[in-house]
């Protein structure tokens, strides 16, 4: 990205109608290796708040007073997706201050919202830079923007562009977004790119638990903890649509039982153990692993694009008590067996 600042209205078109004194940034549409590295870090949740673009008005290509204006968030992934989609176009990009958060999430929180949009229009002097009165806002920004209110307060009309920046070319060409372009789909790619963040969130606690289990119950138990976390944060999102039932918690329980079976068998068939120990050992993973995966699965609802608050709340009431009971019961057995082991009783 080549970014430079220049006084605005320095566009190559001859018609510069109003003088103004605001700042206009210039960018191009190339995604550099440095950008890609930044995206990579963002996906892994490293330096989460560092992936920001300065809010304000940007020009891409050589826009003039009739060029389209696109709104975006000041999160590098959102901004870069837009500018790379605008390759070959002359346009303006109005970057709102969403505190480094993507359009969709910021709209839900209200930072990508009516107030901020109106404020940016005013501070950048957009009304003096373009002649028309239209801003193309990404459709996923709509939960934060009242088009009517923006119009009343700023005089600008909102047009909702397609969900994905890559459909912009087609949208600009035809002037219409198809229902396909208007629909969010949670594709396998969308789900895979979310997994690093899910994993990072829990990695530290998972490592601590794995170490404790190693001492308490041996290497297999420690391995079980790691496998459970990987299954809950990586495998679950990837195979989400293929697991039966609609409820995430239920899907998590199902996946958890499948993941737990091999561990259960391993404990049950360890030689030289008294029968009751083998039985308890076999039951423990069947209690704890599904509870953990189910909980991780329930939390994944926050990252998806289709779960309603009402539904998630219902899931919490329905399943969290079950998860808690399973986890507590399993842990008690686990601690009991661990103590027996440490005390040399088994």
């Amino acid at each position: 990205m080549v970014a430079s600042k220049s006084p605005c209205c320095s566009c190559s078109c001859e018609e510069t109608i109003y003088p103004c004194n605001c700042e206009l940034h210039t960018v191009d549409s190339t995604i550099t290796i440095a950008n890609r590295f930044d995206h990579f870090l963002a996906r892994w949740g490293i330096k989460r708040m560092a992936h920001r673009v300065e809010p304000g008005l940007y020009q891409i290509g050589s826009p003039c007073i009739d060029s389209p204006v696109f709104a975006s968030a000041n999160y590098t992934l959102s901004f870069d997706a837009l500018r790379s989609a605008l390759a070959g176009f002359d346009a303006y990009i109005l970057v709102l201050d969403t505190k480094g958060i993507n359009v969709w999430c910021a709209a839900g929180k209200g930072t990508f919202g009516t107030d901020e949009l109106v404020h940016r229009i005013e501070t950048t002097g957009l009304g003096n830079i373009v002649k028309h009165r239209k801003i193309i806002v990404p459709q996923l920004g709509a939960p934060g923007i009242s088009a009517l209110e923006v119009n009343h307060r700023s005089g600008f009309r909102i047009e909702y562009g397609p969900v994905r920046a890559r459909d912009l070319h087609e949208y600009l060409r035809t002037g219409k977004a198809t229902s396909e372009m208007r629909t969010v789909n949670f594709s396998i790619y969308d789900r895979i790119v979310l997994t690093p963040i899910e994993l990072m969130h829990i990695s530290l606690s998972a490592i601590v638990v794995a170490i404790i289990l190693w001492f308490l119950a041996g290497i297999v138990a420690s391995l079980a903890a790691i496998v459970a976390v990987l299954a809950g944060t990586v495998l679950f999102p990837v195979i989400l649509p293929f697991i039966p039932t609609k409820d995430f918690s239920m899907k998590g329980l199902i996946l958890g039982i499948i993941v737990a079976i091999p561990f259960s068998i391993t404990f049950a068939s360890s030689r030289g153990l008294p029968g009751w120990v083998a039985v308890l050992g076999a039951v423990t993973p069947l209690l704890i692993i599904p509870a953990v995966i189910s909980y991780l699965a329930l939390n994944f609802t926050g990252s998806t694009t289709f779960t309603s608050r009402t539904g998630v709340k219902k899931e919490i009431f329905k399943y969290v008590p079950v998860m808690a009971a399973m986890a507590i019961f399993g842990s008690v057995i686990c601690i009991f067996l661990g103590l027996c082991r440490v005390l040399g009783r088994i």
């Binding site: 208007r182 926050g302 694009t305 608050r309 539904g311």
Partner: protein, 103 residues
Amino acid sequence: MFNSYLENTLRYYKDKCINCKRCTEVCPHGVFVEGVANAELVHPTRCMECGACALNCPVQAIEVQSGVGCAWAMINAALRGKDMDSGECSCGGDTGSCCGELK
């Protein structure tokens, strides 16, 4: 049985609709489609309560209690004895697993 998503807070008052088509434009799940005299609510259970339609409807023909369906924030609020709806989603922060980084 294992579907908690059959009901939600979306309410549509068809008689108020002036057929401006905004809701069909902003909804990310095709809940509304264009009709002859007014918008048609065709897939109510697909609604994720994002609130875009209600906020952009010029005549308040749609009501929905919007909010981020973030389990993490809601459980945390409940554990601290607060109202579950007051749970502040921590996306973008360093904690919490809520909100993916969708563009």
